[in-house]
Subunit: 247 residues, 2 copies
């Protein structure tokens, strides 16, 4: 929560027509929800644009008091906890447009750490303000319920007992779909995280991730060059990830 170059009163230099940043999921949601100028007073304290965070900088740490959720504007954020034996358990990667911190509401503290993997820009949304606004904008309330509910499902995905191949395929297809939905190429993208991060996310050893990548490449499913990924056999990868991504 200690952010560099914080801009209080977010709307200040964004122009009058853009009360939410273009990449935020809430933007559309709020517009659809009957937002109008009469809500402007709240909006002035609702959104706060911050960043850039440098690679390795923390957005918040486990135990920090919670009062805002964040939308990624650019870059990638990793959330993780450190378990009893000091091992890092990666909980998720957040791409532009995705929302971080919904799991912090219940205990009013962030239950995990969040760190930027590259140069990251964020919007902070004051949660109390958001909630207050939601009582007057049923569509916004519904959107929040929906986002929260989605995150329950996402968290459950990881928990099945799947093979290293299935996990890895699902990880790649998941990224591909998410990039595609933001208008990036679904078939060529850069991994912004290390093999170790991927492994900690998939509950594998980083060596296993290397081996699976290599085998996928040998079998013509994809091309891997360092952190560059090219999907070559989408159908086969979809097939492998079907049991995890469901449908």
């Amino acid at each position: 929560m200690t952010a560099p170059s914080r801009k209080t009163g977010a709307m200040a230099d964004d122009g009058d027509d853009l009360h939410f940043c273009s990449t935020c999921a809430f933007s559309a949601a709020c517009m659809q929800s009957g937002y109008d100028k009469s809500h402007l007073k709240e909006l002035h304290v609702l959104v706060e644009h911050v960043g850039p965070f440098k690679e390795g900088e923390h957005l918040f740490r486990e135990g920090d008091p919670f009062n805002a959720i964040a939308a990624v504007r650019s870059g990638t954020v990793k959330t993780y906890v450190t378990d009893a034996n000091g091992r890092e358990q990666v909980q998720g990667f957040f791409l532009p447009g995705e929302i971080i911190g919904l799991n912090a509401i219940s205990h009013s503290r962030y239950p995990c750490n969040a760190v930027s993997l590259d140069s990251v820009l964020l919007c902070w949304f004051s949660f109390p303000t958001m909630a207050a606004l939601a009582t007057r904008m049923p569509g916004l309330q519904q959107q929040l319920f929906k986002l929260l509910s989605e995150d329950i499902g996402k968290a459950a995905l990881l928990s099945g007992n799947y093979s290293a191949d299935e996990r890895t395929a699902a990880f790649l297809m998941g990224l591909s779909r998410r990039y595609a939905s933001r208008g990036f190429s679904p078939n060529r993208f850069l991994l912004t995280m290390s093999r170790t991060d991927i492994a900690n996310y998939l509950r594998l050893a980083s060596e296993s991730v290397s081996r699976v990548f290599r085998r996928f490449q040998d079998e013509g499913l994809l091309r891997v060059d360092r952190r560059e990924i090219e999907i070559l056999d989408r159908a086969r990868l979809e097939e492998l990830s079907r049991s995890i991504l469901r449908e």
Copy 2:
């Protein structure tokens, strides 16, 4: 959602002072949230008491349209999905007082199956009504956010890569705490689910669950007799489950 002996207009025979059933988490929440008689009109369609469901009967199935969340009044409910190879993945067990179906909001369909493990009584809460009410009762809205947020955390617990011992210990201590918080004995309780269900929940083979139970018994951590559990060395079990249950 095809319920036996449904009572429409839930309040009918519950007495005027008890607009929510005593075991429902919402009961307290709504009372704290400024609930008063003026909300009575909504309440008449908000809650619907149903049951009993017999062992093995389904409350809902994957893909059913969602319009209500359920609070368990008595008995145990198991939620699960069936993966591509036909294996059952148990997502959770729900004890009296716990809420089922929050993960269905996002897609307006239940994403899993729910089946009763013994004789089950439920309250259904119409979710649209609940949400509408929440716009006028900020405390209720907050409570819903909190429940949803909690479920994200719960779903993440399973997903770590922990040993069979840790998983099993965490499962037992989790049950123990949940029973305790409902006023039951934390040290002696009956498992309402089969070894296979436990194994499918913990992502182990049922044989492994048997072996861990036996070893825990040999080491004096607990006494197991069929489905009866007695916790003997709470400290050691807490220790084993610490990395999963986190504090």
